[in-house]
Symmetry: C2
Subunit: 433 residues, 2 copies
């Protein structure tokens, strides 16, 4: 730069001063020289909007702190980083920022899953960038590969472990054979679950991420309302043991798939063969497995949450948006040319695991097999365990539609040979029929 006039510094306004916001400000300060080399101009933080100005925030000079998020968002900074979360306020701040000509980097999965269209439209109208790498799977570069690296390919299916808390809980159940209620209590005590734990355990956090992944995979408008969502509270130690015996592991998966006449997006506990790359993703790690026509099978693995991991993703977006300010150009906008219908869960086809408590008498298997056959569900494996009061039967099916399987389960409830339907779970990741 010595021979040239110094380039204009780029301004960055940060909305939110929590762990991620603090980490972003620290990285902008501590890596200033490297960032300038990569961007072609220095970067300057012009303010950090917080709710409580009295709280000391490591790495954020108090002179930058403001409680007036509205004014900071609309200040016309080159880049506004939105880390407040939630829907209403975040949306209005982002729209104000874009109206003022700022490119926006956000980690807001809830907003991107509920109303991406409004944000994309505002970005296009104002000629600014909208990027959101941190919204799904934290530090893992995933949104950019989906939007750009796979832009010339066709994605057919996405399977993701995108909620670290539930993966931690399911890993613990798998490793220690304990009941759901025990790991739930421990996860709450350790602070691994959100204040409202239903966001995690009910699958709603994963569903928001599934909606975003489906948008990008299928170039189709998808919101969280389109996602079929089941949480992990129904997973029992018995299911985990049965899965283990069969060489499977239970994971809460976010699934987005292209089917003949549309797409299906779903979140639910799933049995995966232990040989599947996602089966080895343990503890609080996240991973997303992508199948594409030309690329084949891909997997992206890493930390899904945490201040610095999330900040790493924000910083990557920030550098790209900043480079666009210096060299021109824009990131990709909304891609909805796919325009595929989102189909009801009844159309989903998977294999199934069904765990039954049955009467111990001759003819039981025949009556149960008939219930499956009558509803068009073909049985792959049956295993009978125990006797008398402990008589149990585990059925694994071939590919069946969710609608057919649901009718089968209704019928099983009616049979007097079935004392109880103990567990029903989808199976993914096996070789095709």
């Amino acid at each position: 730069m010595s021979e040239h006039e110094s380039p204009r510094p780029l301004s960055v306004a940060v909305l939110g001063g929590g762990t991620v916001g603090s980490a972003v400000v620290r990285m902008l300060t501590e890596h200033a020289e490297e960032l300038q080399a990569r961007i072609g101009a220095p970067v300057e933080v012009t303010g950090v909007a917080v709710r409580d100005a009295s709280k000391v925030r490591e790495g954020i000079p108090s002179s930058l702190i403001t409680t007036d998020a509205e004014s900071l968002a609309a200040s016309g900074a080159d880049i506004v980083v939105e880390l407040i979360g939630g829907i209403e306020q975040a949306r209005s701040l982002i729209l104000a920022a874009m109206a003022a000509g700022s490119s926006v980097v956000t980690a807001n999965k809830a907003l991107m899953a509920e109303d991406a269209a409004t944000l994309y439209a505002a970005a296009a109208d104002n000629g600014v960038d909208l990027s959101f790498e941190a919204a799904v799977a934290g530090a893992i570069p995933l949104i950019r590969p989906m939007r750009e690296s796979l832009a010339g390919d066709r994605v057919t299916k996405v399977l993701g472990i995108v909620n670290g808390s539930t993966n931690y809980m399911l890993t613990k159940m798998d490793e220690e054979g304990v009941e759901y209620s025990d790991v739930f209590d421990e996860a709450m005590a350790l602070g691994f679950l959100e204040a409202d734990p239903t966001l995690d355990i009910g699958g709603h956090d994963a569903a928001a991420k599934a909606a975003i992944l489906a948008q990008l995979a299928f170039h189709t408008s998808v919101t969280i309302e389109d996602v079929h969502c089941e949480g992990i509270a129904s997973v029992t130690a018995d299911d985990v043991r049965a899965a283990k015996d069969m060489g499977f592991v239970i994971k809460l998966l976010a699934v987005a798939e292209r089917v003949d006449d549309g797409i299906i997006v779903r979140v639910h506990p799933t049995m995966l063969p232990r040989s599947h790359p996602l089966a080895a993703v343990r503890g609080s790690f996240n991973a997303v497995f992508v199948e594409a026509e030309a690329a084949g099978e891909l997997m992206f693995y890493g930390r899904g949450a945490g201040g610095f991991p999330t900040a790493s993703a924000v910083m990557g977006d920030l550098v790209t948006a900043a480079r666009h300010r210096v060299t021109g150009g824009r990131g990709p906008g909304e891609s909805i040319h796919g325009g595929l219908p989102v189909l009801d869960i009844g159309h989903a086809r998977t294999r199934y695991y069904v765990n039954l408590d049955v009467a111990d008498r001759p003819g039981v298997l025949a009556s149960i097999a008939a219930a499956f056959a009558e509803n068009g569900v073909s049985i792959q494996v049956v295993r009978q365990d125990g006797h008398g009061a402990d008589a149990g039967l585990i059925v694994r099916t071939h590919m069946a539609s969710d609608a057919d399987l649901s009718r089968t389960v209704e019928r099983l409830h009616e049979l007097d040979t079935v004392r109880e339907v103990l567990g029903v779970m989808r199976v993914e990741g096996e070789a095709g029929e």
Copy 2:
């Protein structure tokens, strides 16, 4: 587009009509509508340069075929895709293309590992894009995440399985306990190795990729000459068995790491704990494990080779370069602001496995332990096996420098208690001391 004037079609010239070139042309044709939606303009193939025009090439209309690569490269197409490989001709074609104002997408690892600087300089001089996602790990989005997603973070270490043929061979040795010579013969017979198999088994293919990964990870100029390279021909069934017994697996790793005063780039057979994410990468799959200061541990997994997987990576680069033609902007250029010295392998510090054939008499362990101690190498585990002519000793060390370990091995050769040094291998991926 109906209300607007049709945008000018973008022209693409493809140099090379092999499996990747054919796949690229087919994808450009078959996905034309989607690509136009993503790019904002239609894309037109203006020619495919081949060596032998008489060969029938699936998916390439004969009217596009030319044997005059020079004229096609210099034709001023919006984008030139270089798939010819090798150094001299490819470099001169790429420089001619850039001089004519074309952005270049290349899969040429050899050239990027030998002379990236010349290509980057020409791209900057001519204001065009240079992208090369397909040069490392085929279909896996890796170059873009390294150049862009991690642009605000600091990478500390990269560990990659980047050669599918050798990973296939090592997986086979691990699963079946067979000798290297057997899997070599099989891999040759199956056509899994290059015509000159030393490129794969000698580690040179992996070394080229290691150089490219090191360039991007450390923002430093690195060429293949800087890479310490050892192949897999010395790996024995005995090493594989010993690794297995200790809970490890042997992989050919490309390693690029930041050390105190520089970087080290190396390719060699490595023992990894079976719990490491890379240990589960089997057969011909590739994966790259990245450690970054803020992001923590990341892994990228997928197909490292093959016509369509490689074409997927080329297409992603092509869409980005095409979008830049429509909306302005440029991809990142050469990033060498790190300017770190590349250190000699003697400075590398890892743990080691040493397998010795020893005399079966008292005092053997004492003399061997002394050889390690005298050279400053601390022993972590020793295991003695067998008796008499079969007496063996396996040593695993704590962290030691390559220089200290080499001196230790020299000393072991001199001891009359050591009949033979059967194997020496680096160990990666364990928890720090």
